[in-house]
């Protein structure tokens, strides 16, 4: 994931490594986004890829390049939603879609076999967190929590939302400040708070956490600590456990650390950031025994940007997919050879152990591995059992179903 921003409260990895200077005493010598790049041996020209924020017509989408397993088919479900990211499905089937830079929330509905794309909110600061419950749409932007009651009855004129920002009192930092949002089986609203740096020392009760609230923003509870920047989670349909993806830090090397999948067995567990990713000690910070921390349920690949994830509910895709996790990997920037740009399935056994990570949707990256035609950021199951995949790069939503 992009890791750019001012690092006011942070101490750069470079300084930590040097260790001669007291932590907060010194002006940073390196811009925050590049902290850790010096001496990494990685190409200094690596930088995040450009977004595209204009409408892409349907006939420019790479539908013919996309590959799904035998027995499945993929089609364009909607297009013309630049920057489309996280999705939530309403009771009446409306698909609500958040975004980052373009600041919009879309509502996409099926009208007689055609999709209609409405912009229901705009000018927001990275409204990436999208959750639906009891007829209401909750949107979490970097600096705002907004709720529209009865939204599906007023898509043409959503009106002013209820502003819950002060009740939730989330940190204001932009860096890794975009949210994923979802209601748990306990009725609480869950979200993430990323760390406002690449790697640094920070308040471990405030950043790099998964956190839940009552829907009105009260009763804050830390669900997991030491998760650097999770932008995707879901609840196991049978065990109700919280599972989350996490983005590893940049500039530690092409193949370290890996992005990770986390299983949260009990509220408040510590998953190790910034000290450990699995059994890998981050050399940028003081050494701690990695056995002190929860171990990831699976490694998802270095720099792949594993984001939106959902358990597949029901047997529509066949028994082998029931309660398995679909994960969108947006694709790397901080890696000399591109990786990710796909959707994978984490296969779980009866005990909830991950037995493998399998490709499911591929073809966004061309044969040279240099050019990409999509960046999948979220997956969402429709009521008919098919699976939607949101592509942020070209503002399209694909639908995968059984043949």
């Amino acid at each position: 994931m992009a890791t750019f921003a001012s690092m006011r409260l942070a101490l750069g990895a470079a300084l930590l490594a040097a260790a001669a200077v007291p932590a907060y005493a010194q002006q940073q010598q390196v811009p925050a986004w590049a902290v850790g790049r010096e001496g990494s041996g990685m190409s200094p020209t690596l930088a995040p890829h450009a977004p595209k924020l204009t409408v892409t017509p349907e006939n420019e989408l790479p539908i013919n390049d996309l590959r799904v397993p035998d027995g499945f088919k993929i089609e364009v479900w909607a297009h013309g939603a630049p920057g489309a990211r996280m999705m939530a499905v309403g009771d009446r089937g409306t698909v609500f879609v958040g975004s980052r830079v373009i600041g919009r929330v879309y509502a996409i509905s099926d009208e007689g076999g055609q999709r209609r794309v409405r912009i229901i909110a705009q000018g927001l600061k990275q409204p990436n967190g999208i959750a639906f419950k009891d007829g209401a749409l909750t949107v979490i932007a970097i600096n705002q929590v907004l709720r529209w009651e009865g939204i599906e009855g007023k898509l043409d004129n959503p009106g002013q939302p209820t502003d819950l920002t002060s009740a939730f009192n989330l940190p204001p930092e932009e860096h890794h400040g975009w949210k994923f949002a979802g209601f748990g089986p306990d009725g609480r609203l869950y979200t993430n708070v990323g760390v406002p740096c690449n790697v640094c020392e920070f308040d471990r009760d405030r950043y790099a956490i998964l956190v839940s609230f009552r829907p009105d923003g009260s009763d804050r509870r830390i669900e997991a600590r030491g998760i650097r920047n999770s932008v995707g989670f879901d609840f196991h349909p049978a065990t109700r456990e919280l599972w989350a993806t996490n983005n590893g830090r940049d500039w530690a090397g092409n193949d370290v650390p890996e992005d990770t999948l986390h299983r949260v067995r009990r509220s408040g567990e510590d998953h190790g950031f910034p000290f450990c990713v699995g059994d890998w000690n981050d050399p940028a910070v003081p050494r701690r025994a990695c056995s002190e921390f929860e171990q990831p349920a699976a490694k998802l690949g270095p720099h792949v940007a594993a984001l939106g994830m959902r358990f597949y509910r029901g047997t529509g895709f066949g028994a082998e997919y029931e309660n398995q996790i679909f994960i969108a990997r947006r694709g790397s920037w901080n890696r000399e050879k591109k990786s990710g740009y796909d959707v994978v399935v984490a296969k779980l056994d009866g005990q909830g152990r991950v037995t493998g990570i399998q490709p499911f949707l591929t073809g966004f990256l061309d044969a040279s591995g240099e050019k990409f035609t999509g960046r999948p950021v979220d997956v969402q199951q429709l009521q008919d059992g098919s699976l939607l995949v949101a592509d942020e790069q070209l503002g399209a939503i694909y639908r995968i179903s059984r043949r």
């Binding site: 921003a5 209609r116 932009e174």
Partner: protein, 194 residues
């Protein structure tokens, strides 16, 4: 499948055709740009304080900035007004037009000490890794070589004060910790590049 798109981008979907980027129409853009010349100058070379030149700028950068103005995410009221309701295709054509023009820098009187300082700061802060070593820019990263010195300084101060946000926070971070005198030196050095 057909999609009906509501809102600002309504017409764009219907009007676009294959290879939108390559096919963006500079001639069409020129016709749309008439109202811009009062501020951005004839041929996209600005003659006004604090108004950036657009000639020879990276087309993707121009496109993205116009979208940010239209959506109210980059704030400057006259530009927000100018972009109101402008559809995606028009924005892409405007960008193609300005990108096709030749920048005619109006370099400031050279101050050797400032140039040295700006050059050194650019090296330690890796400005050339994103903007390229000749500062001609790429994709979403703008050309900064030969831009107006007053605009460069003004906009860098705005990034530092979090008054300007872009498609990512790269610039807010890249300028972290630099003094105003540092930014003056950088602006001076960059305005003198060709």
């Amino acid at each position: 499948m057909r999609t009906t798109l509501m809102g600002a981008a309504a017409l764009a979907a219907a009007l676009l055709f294959p290879g939108a980027v390559a096919a963006a129409d500079a001639a069409r853009g020129q016709a749309l740009a008439e109202s811009c010349a009062a501020c951005h100058g004839p041929g996209g070379n600005s003659q006004l304080d604090l108004v950036p030149s657009l000639a020879g700028q990276q087309p993707l950068f121009l496109t993205l900035q116009m979208i940010l103005f239209r959506e109210g995410i980059r704030a400057f009221p006259p530009m927000n007004e100018a972009m109101k309701g402008v559809v995606d295709r028009d924005i892409e054509d405007l960008a193609a037009y300005y990108a096709s023009l030749t920048l005619e820098p109006q370099p400031p009187a050279r101050d050797a000490a400032k140039v040295e300082r700006g050059k050194a700061l650019s090296a330690t802060h890796h400005c050339g890794s994103c903007h390229l070593p000749d500062y001609s820019g790429q994709n979403q990263v703008p050309r900064i070589a030969g831009q107006r010195e007053d605009f460069l300084l003004h906009t860098m101060l705005e990034y530092q004060q979090q008054k300007r946000s872009g498609t990512d926070t790269a610039m807010n971070a890249a300028l972290y910790g630099l003094s105003e005198a540092d930014l003056e030196a950088l602006a001076h050095y960059l305005a003198l590049q060709r």
